[in-house]
Symmetry: none
Subunit: 415 residues, 2 copies
């Protein structure tokens, strides 16, 4: 059985508010082993309700909807469900009493228009709402089971957990368990990685593997399923092992872990310390490191040397070197990494200097040209990145910062 999720509200389809209910419901259904085929968002128009409801019950076996159950004229879900099923709306005495009781508890008079919230399509089952005035609706239309829930996220979540999940189990759904593993890589492009993973991402393979990219970090996503959670985990395991074997050094972590977390793991493992000297990344490397709680024993500190004078004052980069080679040069990157390492007594010093753009590029030193430096007790190395003049400033800064963090991670990995 496949599901469709409808979210109802003009404020959503107009872009005024962002719909987060559909995502949450997709995650919950995924964990129950129900595949979600579509999300549809629609506004407060009756014709659009009928069109979207009929489309949904025609192509999905389970339709979850949120919103449109309030007491105002904009709230059309009840009526549209009745029209769609070809039945009348009838008042449910128990629901009316429950709504009245909520107003009583809040010491407020119940407005007359709230009565409409106790109206249900004939034959539908009311879903109690212990924390709000809008009860939900459970019914069958054609071949599809339909659950209508309030749009308020807290009410929707509680009703889904308490009322909808037991009914899904009653339909024999939710017997299957699904788990996801997200393995994150840095250091090569998405299409490069895809080429080396064609066997894993092939359509129809079990377990299924997808590839996504976010801020220059590439992720494999393995979906394992089974009769039990353990079985689902076991199903994903060999594929995860293959990814680790094939992409080993590029893997920075799982779940939400990004390059800085991968570096943190190596710092904690080796006991090494790190210090940062940033020009074009302007504090982003420091920010990525210090967003991690518990990193303070390993991160000594850093300098953001945006001006030439600050490179000299804070890092001891010789003025002549900046004059001879320019601030964006391997020579200055090396002196910056050495400077911060020596001043703070760190195991590793890393540095960036480059042209983040969109202005400041020259034919010799275009936007996207970045030098990284890395200093250890064994000496200092530099690397050159050519990220392309068409790249936005933000990408150049993020990619450069992650490249420097990743370089340090790989160096520590060999320790």
């Amino acid at each position: 059985m496949r599901a469709e999720i409808l979210s109802i509200g003009s404020e959503l389809v107009s872009g005024q508010n962002l719909d987060t209910n559909s995502r949450w419901l997709s995650q919950q259904l995924g964990m129950l082993g129900v595949t979600v085929a579509y999300h549809t968002t629609l506004g407060d128009e009756m014709d659009d309700h009928l069109e979207a409801f009929r489309t949904a019950v025609g192509r999905a076996g389970l339709v979850l909807m949120t919103g449109g159950l309030g007491p105002t004229q904009d709230d059309l879900t009840r009526e549209a469900l009745a029209l769609c099923a070809g039945v009348q709306l009838v008042e449910d005495a128990a629901s009316l009493a429950a709504i009245a009781a909520i107003f009583e508890r809040r010491n407020r008079p119940m407005a007359d228009r709230n009565r409409v919230q106790a109206m249900f399509p004939e034959g539908a089952e009311p879903l109690p709402n212990p924390i709000g005035t809008a009860p939900g609706i459970w019914m069958k239309i054609g071949g599809a089971w339909v659950a209508a829930m309030p749009g308020v996220p807290s009410e929707m979540r509680r009703m889904f957990d308490d009322e909808v999940v037991p009914r899904l189990r009653g339909l024999g759904l939710g017997g299957r368990h699904i788990i996801h593993r997200k393995i994150n890589l840095f250091g090569r492009g998405e299409s490069d990685i895809e080429r080396d993973a064609m066997d894993l991402t092939a359509r129809g393979r079990i377990p299924e593997v997808g590839i996504t990219a976010s801020e220059a970090t590439i992720s494999f996503r393995i979906t394992g399923s089974g009769e039990t959670e353990e079985e689902a985990i076991r199903q994903a395991e060999p594929t995860a092992a293959t990814i680790y074997e094939r992409f080993g050094p590029m893997i920075v972590g799982e779940g939400t872990a990004d390059v800085a977390d991968g570096l943190f793991a190596e710092l904690a493992r080796t006991g090494a310390t790190i210090a940062t000297a940033e020009s074009c990344t302007g504090g982003l490397i420091a920010r990525m490191i210090t967003a991690i709680s518990g990193v303070s024993p390993y991160y000594l500190g850093g300098a953001v040397t945006y001006s030439n004078a600050s490179k000299t004052t804070m890092l001891g980069v010789p003025t002549e070197r900046i004059e001879a080679h320019g601030a964006v040069s391997p020579e200055v990157a090396a002196a910056m990494a050495e400077g911060i390492r020596n001043r703070l007594g760190a195991t590793i010093g890393i540095s960036t200097t480059g042209v983040a753009g969109p202005t400041g590029g020259t034919p010799e030193k275009p936007v996207g040209l970045v030098y990284l430096g890395l200093a250890t007790a064994d000496g200092t190395e530099t690397r050159r990145l050519d990220l392309g003049i068409e790249r936005p400033r933000d990408f150049i800064q993020i990619f450069s910062a992650k490249s420097a963090l990743n370089w340090a991670r790989l160096v520590l990995r060999e320790v």
Copy 2:
């Protein structure tokens, strides 16, 4: 003409990632006066593509889609559009050359798989993508105009602005003009500001005013409309003037401008320079400043002094002072701000030291306790923030960073 927006990707329909493209496109179409009737999200299955594409072109006059234009096996948009229109896919030489040029600029070999990104349904118009390898597609299917754009938000937005909007104007859309003005404030809580703006946010008021909050910055959003853009702007103007009059010093800027942009404006106006010394914000202040292009004449640099020793080495904070008062103290915040100001010769030095949590708090110095320092030629002041032990690390870092930036902005405002 009504529009439908499709977002394509199994990571979206499964709930792994949150779709934000549809909302942005709805907002843009709204400003052009085009009503969006539906959003539909679908996964990477060919049958679902055909079902959703056919439904959309059957019920909408304009269909915007994002995603599925990458080089991998999961990317089905091109093929599905061709099937839906009943035409072949043909290679476009100019698009292929543009893709090859991007790889060349990045000094990386073009993978064979990327060739597929130059394939278009016969008769379709390629939409150039100057910042990525996936060109977009513009075509007509039945009675509907269709624009397919990449899923990467930065690429999608640029392509919409540069390529899709002119084509929509060519279709005679955008007759009614809607404009939004977003005025951003920092320094007081959302409910405080709301209480002082009840007359502006009243339902039914023209122009409409909403209040939103994001990362401790509060925004008023005014929606003006009219037959012409000038008329829409004129409608919003008196309301904007009222907000400026009532909230004056708290206003940091409009649109995407945040506290750092407000500071940048004051730096540029006064010609002052600034330097930063960060402990608990760990480079976030530097990052917020250097995310702004053109800031380099005014931002000299900064230190991220995460360890006690680095506070002494990089900023000259006396060891005895740290021992006597602790690193989280007004005395150390003052010495940090003075230290960075003196070392870099800046007009203003700002500093932060505090407990960002979730660990590291004590009864005397709990999580959420932060001291800010601000040093000028007139002397040095400190401020204490008590953000509350229940606040997440990220909030404490962001609020502290913005508070320091805002303090410097307000000081310069008086110059």
